[in-house]
Symmetry: C2
């Protein structure tokens, strides 16, 4: 095992609604092998981190998924999985892990890395994280800004300012601000400036710095998480969790810390091009799946179960043992599972959420 450059916090949550019927409540996106790699997104995330963290990986997930996470990560230490009684958004998840790690290891550098994203260039990822750790040691909240290669409306953006210029941090820049997902025209304008990066939710920061910012910005949430962290490695954990957790504020770390601290000049960004994707829908999934057959058809699963004719760019996910045939629909998306079939196109990938919303009414068992 390598040294522990940083302690990674891996929030493993999120429904992956737009990937229904592949992603379900009982088998959310992070538990799935979505790229045909033979490893799930969670496993790939941890594989990617181990050279940087050694044993220092902590997964935060819901109690419903704790057993599945342990099954997929048999090497994970007993103490390295924090189970949340209910979802309280990213600030509570990351803040709890940071507080627990601070009590166990002192003022270590921690970094948050979502369990359901894809990174194709691992070497670039490692370089970026190493630089981020160096910047974090100087007291910054450091985010890794993904080079925007198209005007995406699916991601939030980070606006980079002047270079930090420190030794050993050649590419880091100060963050001017964060923005929500833009409309298409705004996204195009962002891309044209060259100053904007995608916000992949990767934050690297000293535990004490993070907790100090939290105390300043969200004192009640900080107090609640501190009380829980104090009790975490004791017999009092269940009682304290049951009493304190339900009332914790639900807020994203971006809003709770990154935005206000950036406004005060305390956030830095390390730009990186690492083939990152959040695999948010079938349109973003398709290029990550191996090609099979003519016309750039992509098949996630048994290629022998798929037959396409005049369906260039189709994404087919055979998942029930049946033969799936697609005729005359370019960019078709067909997902076949034992209890549900989805038929759509890449262009409608974002609207899969509408289908799921309609299923909530009476067909909840399919979600």
């Amino acid at each position: 095992m390598p040294d522990t450059l940083l302690h990674a916090i891996v929030p493993a949550g999120g429904a992956g609604t737009r990937l229904w019927p592949l992603s379900r409540r009982a088998a959310p996106k992070f538990l799935l092998d979505l790229t045909g790699a033979g490893r799930t997104l969670l496993q790939q995330t941890v594989d990617r981190l181990r050279p940087l963290t050694g044993d220092g990986v902590t997964v935060v997930t819901g109690t419903a998924h704790a057993a599945a996470v342990r099954a997929q990560l048999p090497e994970l230490g007993e103490a390295d999985l924090l189970a949340e009684p209910s979802p309280r958004d990213s600030m509570a998840a990351i803040g709890l892990a940071a507080a627990v790690l601070a009590r166990r290891h002192g003022d270590v550098v921690v970094g948050s890395f979502a369990a359901d994203h894809v990174v194709r260039d691992t070497a670039a990822f490692e370089r970026a994280v190493r630089e981020a750790v160096a910047v974090a040691r100087a007291g910054y909240v450091v985010t890794i800004g993904i080079e925007a290669d198209h005007p995406s409306t699916a991601f939030g953006y980070i606006r980079a300012g002047e270079p930090l210029g420190g030794a050993g941090t050649p590419t880091a820049r100060r963050v001017v601000g964060f923005t929500e997902k833009p409309d298409a025209a705004t996204a195009a304008a962002y891309l044209a400036t060259g100053e904007y990066r995608w916000n992949a939710g990767m934050f690297v920061v000293r535990a004490a710095v993070l907790l100090d910012h939290l105390a300043a910005e969200r004192p009640a949430l900080h107090a609640g998480l501190s009380e829980i962290a104090d009790a975490w490695d004791t017999d009092a954990r269940p009682d304290v969790l049951a009493r304190v957790w339900p009332d914790l504020e639900k807020v994203a770390i971006d809003h709770a810390i990154a935005e206000p601290v950036a406004a005060r000049g305390g956030v830095a960004v390390v730009p990186a091009a690492m083939g990152w994707d959040d695999v948010g829908d079938f349109a973003s999934l398709a290029p990550l799946v191996p090609p099979a057959g003519d016309g750039d058809v992509r098949v996630l699963g048994a290629v022998a179960d798929v037959l396409t004719v005049d369906a260039a760019g189709a994404l087919v996910v055979p998942g029930s043992g049946r033969t799936v045939t697609v005729l005359g629909i370019p960019d078709a998306v067909v997902v076949d599972t034992p209890d549900a079939v989805l038929v759509t196109t890449r262009a409608h990938a974002q609207q899969v959420k509408q289908v799921v919303d309609q299923l909530r009414d009476g067909r909840d068992r399919l979600l």
Copy 2:
């Protein structure tokens, strides 16, 4: 039971390849309820004929489907099903039935009506057949010509000539000729003249007239069918069938009789608008299926198993108990069965045959 105006011959064959995966070798089109009527196409065909034929319905089918035909038509007499050892096209099927019926009943009027077509206006059908019988009694081969309401390239055409003008046969006209399926421009030109009708393969003719024409046009086929018919209701049937049937010429009744006899002025047509369709593919099936939900979506099967969003004109056939969801594909055709799923559009309905052709190679079990 009504009197026997004519003896109906119902050829029950054809694979319905373009309706795969609904239609299979083991469950061909005529054995299926394709309109949600609760009756299969075969049953609907016989239901439609009974008021005209009484008990006089004879079904000709392959030995592989004889048991299924009997199960669907429990009222069919033992002698009223003729099982063919192998497919020998429509002339052999209809000629055999006509020869057997002539031996049983003398020179009765016979009529051939395919087991896998749809007729929505039964009253118009009955009127047309009654007039056809009257014309047939005068010695003509009579076909029922379907009023063409669009320039279809999927059907052959009948060109009508001058009215026959006989008493009791007000609409019948002499046939100038038959044509194969035309291209789109030719079909449009046909429609513009008003002289062309679709050939639905309905032929009404005295048994003796039919057999005499057959003897003149195809003497070897006539001799073979005569030998088989002589033996049919005797113990010799199996031996004679086994010896004679395999060498019978495979030819359609249109080519063997209708075309040459029309050239000599011996064929008449009774025009009719009866909501006829041969249900040749999913595009022609869609309008026959009950609407379900917004946007003229059609569902053949359990409506509760289907969810469509922005899929106006879609045809969905849920057939495995799975929920089928279609998003953003107008005119989509989705057919879900326990071992195969087809995803296409109405515009590609004719090309389903290409999919089936590709499945022959290695996935024959699905056909």
